[in-house]
């Protein structure tokens, strides 16, 4: 988890409320990713970023948006949380397109009631 922090680490929220998760890195890596991890599904990519203000969708992007205004910060927003978004969310970073090794943060457990 060195160099990557996520906040908050735990959150309980109600259906319909907006939620923002933050990922912060001190490694100056170009690529940042948001995954969700659910039983039976492993890690699934939500969105990723390949530079400041450059983002793209992953396989489960519906209901999520992201922003990256600085190299070190990548925000994941649930505009209107639903119970199906209850999950553990991981942020990851990597150096670039020729370096697929990803370094993961400690995760955020989000519960939507």
């Amino acid at each position: 988890d060195a160099g990557i922090t996520q906040s908050p680490r735990h959150k309980v929220t109600e259906t319909g409320t907006p939620v923002t998760l933050r990922c912060h890195q001190t490694e100056n890596h170009r690529y940042m990713y948001w995954y969700r991890q659910d039983p039976g599904h492993g890690l699934r990519l939500i969105h990723y970023s390949y530079g400041v203000k450059d983002t793209d969708k992953g396989e489960v992007s519906d209901g999520y948006s992201v922003s990256r205004s600085k190299t070190e910060d990548f925000l994941l927003t649930l505009e209107s949380a639903t119970s199906s978004q209850t999950s553990v969310y991981f942020c990851a970073i990597s150096r670039g397109p020729d370096s697929y090794e990803q370094y993961f943060g400690p995760g955020t457990r989000l519960t939507v009631t």
Partner: protein, 113 residues
């Protein structure tokens, strides 16, 4: 920390024995593979990688074997220790046509002392 109560295939081994964890990957175009280890309450950590032009790669106490004919990957852990208890994921990466990484569902390794 964060963890997910995954209902995963489980491998139980005696301390000191060798462990073999298998993974079937999905895409014949995948050209780079990584094994990750996820301990309870933490994010995944890189263990070892292998490119598709190789059949075998060794690290410290770990060996990865790649069989492209049957799209199979295995992770061998020598002299398994209690600290090896974790969930292990394989990840396949496709370098053409943009970024794409697919994670397997994982295998839980339990080491008996």
């Amino acid at each position: 920390g964060e963890s997910v109560g995954l209902h995963l295939p489980t491998l139980s081994v005696q301390e000191g024995d060798n462990s073999i964890i298998n993974c079937a990957y999905s895409n014949s175009a995948s050209d780079y593979f990584i094994w990750y280890k996820q301990e309870s309450g933490k994010g995944p950590q890189f263990i070892i990688d292998i490119r598709s032009n190789m059949d075998k790669r060794q690290g410290q106490r770990v060996t990865v074997l790649l069989n492209k004919t049957v799209k199979h990957l295995s992770l061998q852990i020598a002299a398994t220790q209690p600290g090896d208890s974790a969930v292990y994921f394989c990840a396949e990466n496709i370098s053409t046509g943009g970024f794409k990484t697919i994670f397997g569902a994982g295998t839980r390794l339990f080491v008996k002392a």
